[in-house]
Symmetry: C2
Subunit: 114 residues, 2 copies
C-alpha cells in the first residue's frame, strides 16, 4: 500500500494513538480474539483467515475499530485485505500494556476452562 493507493485506509499516526481508544478496542471479545490471533501468528493475516462468530459486516466493523484506534494496520495485497498488529507503536507508547492484556486473556481462558 502506498499513499497513492486509492484504496489506502486511514490510520492514526503513532502520536495520535490514545490509550482510551486502545483499551476500548481491546474490550470486545471478538476484537480481542483477532488481536490474540495476530499476536500468536506474529505476522500479517488476511481478513479471510479469521473464522469469527459474527457476520461479515460486523467483522468489518471490528477490524475498523482496531485500525482506527491504532491497534492494527491494514492494507491491500492485490485483492486481499491484510491486517497486522502495530506492536512497535503500541510497545513504544505503552510499554508492557499489550503483553499484559495478552497474558491476562490467556490466564482467563485457563481459569474459565478449569
Amino acid at each position: 500500500m502506498t499513499a497513492a493507493d486509492p484504496r489506502a485506509l486511514e490510520h492514526p499516526t503513532r502520536g495520535e494513538i490514545r490509550l482510551e481508544a486502545v483499551l476500548h478496542a481491546l474490550s470486545d471479545p471478538v476484537r480481542l480474539r483477532i488481536v490474540r490471533e495476530l499476536a500468536d501468528t506474529g505476522s500479517e493475516l488476511s481478513c479471510s483467515h479469521f473464522d469469527l462468530p459474527v457476520t461479515k459486516s460486523t467483522t468489518t466493523h471490528h477490524f475498523r475499530v482496531l485500525r482506527e484506534s491504532g491497534v492494527i494496520q491494514q492494507g491491500y495485497r492485490g485483492t486481499a485485505k491484510m491486517s497486522d498488529l502495530r506492536r512497535a507503536d503500541l510497545d513504544a507508547l505503552f510499554p508492557g500494556l499489550l503483553d499484559g492484556v495478552l497474558t491476562a486473556a490467556t490466564a482467563q481462558d485457563a481459569r474459565v476452562a478449569s
Copy 2:
C-alpha cells in the same frame, strides 16, 4: 457494609471478573481518571471527593460500571458512599495489567502535555 445492609451494593466475585469488562471500564476517560485517583491515593475515597466534568447522574453511572466490572468496590460509611480499587483481585487475576494501564496513562499525559 455487611451482607445484612439493605443498601449493600452488588459486586462480582473475584472469579466472576472478566478481562473484557475491566478493559471496557478503563476505556472511558472519566472512569480512567477515577481509577488513577484511587490508585494514587491508595485508600478508599468518597464519591464526593471526585471533581469530575460530568453530571451527578453520569458520575453515578461511571462508578456503577467500575463496580459491576470488578474494578472497584463500593460501600456506605454512614451516609458517605466510599469507593476503593480492587487491586488485590485485579493483580491476582491479571498480573501487571492495572499497573500497565496506570503507567500508560501517565506516559500519555506527559506526551500530550509536551
